[in-house]
Symmetry: C2
Subunit: 418 residues, 2 copies
Amino acid sequence: MTSRPRVLVLGGGFAGIGAARKLGGADVDVVLVDRHDYHTFQPLLYQLATGLLETTAVGHSLRDLVKDQDNAVIHKAPITGIDLDAKEVSFDGLAPETYDYLVLALGAEVTFFGTEGAAEHAFPMYTMAHALRLKDHVLERWEAADKDADLVEDGALNVVVVGGGPTGVETAGALAELYRDNFARDYPGISQEKARIVLVEAGDEIFAMFKPNLQKYAREALEKRTVEVVTGARVHSISPTRVTLASGEVIPAHTLVWGAGLQGNSLVRSLGIELQHGDRIAVGPDLELPGHPGVFVVGDIAVITDARTGQALPQLGSVALQSGEHAGESIARRVAGKATKPFSYRDKGTMAAIGRNAAVVQMLGGRTMKGHKAQFAWRTVHLALLPTNEDRAKAVVDWAGSELTHQRVGRISVGPDE
Amino acid sequence: MTSRPRVLVLGGGFAGIGAARKLGGADVDVVLVDRHDYHTFQPLLYQLATGLLETTAVGHSLRDLVKDQDNAVIHKAPITGIDLDAKEVSFDGLAPETYDYLVLALGAEVTFFGTEGAAEHAFPMYTMAHALRLKDHVLERWEAADKDADLVEDGALNVVVVGGGPTGVETAGALAELYRDNFARDYPGISQEKARIVLVEAGDEIFAMFKPNLQKYAREALEKRTVEVVTGARVHSISPTRVTLASGEVIPAHTLVWGAGLQGNSLVRSLGIELQHGDRIAVGPDLELPGHPGVFVVGDIAVITDARTGQALPQLGSVALQSGEHAGESIARRVAGKATKPFSYRDKGTMAAIGRNAAVVQMLGGRTMKGHKAQFAWRTVHLALLPTNEDRAKAVVDWAGSELTHQRVGRISVGPDE
């Protein structure tokens, strides 16, 4: 038994990693638990799903990220229960852990809003497994259609992407480039007209979080890439081969990508605390959970208000990372007998990539960028988010390679052998 | 219907790819069928299994490899039957294909020689799926042992590698570096003494195909990497947690890697032709199947005699590639009304890598190299075997990165979500 304060970090995403690494120099024992042995670089999942990047460019060994930190250990285990009063967390296949400080960095999970057939047939895009499942499915449909023209006519190659936010737009744009640049060459016998990509957004415009000029730019950039953008439309139900809109329109498509709808990790519902919209948790200025000293809530599950601007902050990777780091610093200060500080966000901007040389950036202040310049900013920010210099080097090489060759080396399907 | 001769290539390994690409300029229609949508770079499978390389560095899109060849199409389908008299091949999920010329490049498959429990519990190393399955299993055992010390005592981290050929030696050496360099840091709480790597070879020495000085070097290089080399020993039976040798000795180990035993693809048994030892097929000087004009047999399933030296050639990637290319050339000559030429092998040497800066090379002539110099030669030859310049660039980057950092970015386990 050690007498040092025990810090339990739940979740190995941007927020959890930020907290664990900031505690490197602190006189504490850090235990980080995640259900995977890797950190997922979520902003690049759509590039994994479309064969542009490989798993190791998106998933990074958690142990690697704390390897220089002798006060931190990693455990891979699903979390089964959190008892804030007993200060104890239970796991599947791992003895319960007690804590002096807790960092809740559980992230969000996908919700289908009860859309009929979605849970069974939709392809969400929030985890590495999601991205690989989507990639393998799309490749399988092209292989099958290449052998059976009837499948092409049945819409086997059509994809409906639901949600006009960054996930939906980035996935739709990347699928269009995969189809028109790569599959057009891989499957010369199949007419690209028979392979539609339809982006469906319930609101009046895609990219609701962006200014009108960026919304217009994004729609044009998608349409230039032959993505059909349908706004003001809701998906009513999904079958393995058909998507039915609320209007009654039926789109033949064997693939529906679900880029809409996140809610707080369902574990938070059992915490016995008041939850905000979408099962998220409101926190104090220093990100502490009101009424539970020593418990800090960060990342996507937290409703965070910027101390300087008073604005509620969006659910972004950079907000997650910075809030996690702040929680780590706050715990270090507590342990050292100092007071915590309120959290204020250093804005890196909200950004999304529609495709090659087509991205949008909007700062909280309101400044916007698009095109080449925005893509450069997008890459700069995402490289900064990458956990190690090696990752940064690899991503630059991969991006440079794909720009030169338009190749997508990842468009292979490596399943178990028959 | 086209009136051009139809060339059917069965198998997308080195031999099949070599044949298909050599036919690029020929006035024929080429159909290449493989059960995967990728070409497997088998010499690097052990690097995939130990997290040094990623799937896309070992598997390359078959369609990508013939994308500049408008006379070639790729189909992904398991082969179910070959009728040499009817000149027709049947597939699972694909209409039967007739041919004017056939290139049999089916490769080998693993045989366990009836070793008890091997089919159920051993981890062979011949396909990408094998390599990923081994990697995930080893990672899972370490994760489990990290939570349960009893597992460590039960030998959960011990690995027995069967077979002192290149596959066994390279896998054992790479596992040792993964254990001692990476897992030692990833799992500081686990004593490396509790994680044994035992290489079991039935013969008197490992690397039977190499000269004694290289055998001695390889054994010393393995032992320097803490691999226990046991020669003159056979595996009698395998259970999920124990390996029993013919001597009766029982080695506690939850992982047995099967690096021994290949035989010709079982499809060849149904061809109704005489087979050599290990279900391989003897071919004529131009690699044609005696009695079956227009049928060429290449790669691991062929017993090839060098036209110049009269020596039987080993089952090597470079022999497979060159024999496949020769078959492609022979068919092109036939179609052009020219006579075929006998095949003679341009020796690149037999080589294997024991670990970082430790490799061996032996030319057919008898010249040998070891250490740094051999590793350089190993890389040169393997880079030459890689299908595209992009692949070569990626491999160099990956190797350079791992040399600098000793990192293994692939040591994550990306399974489907719970």
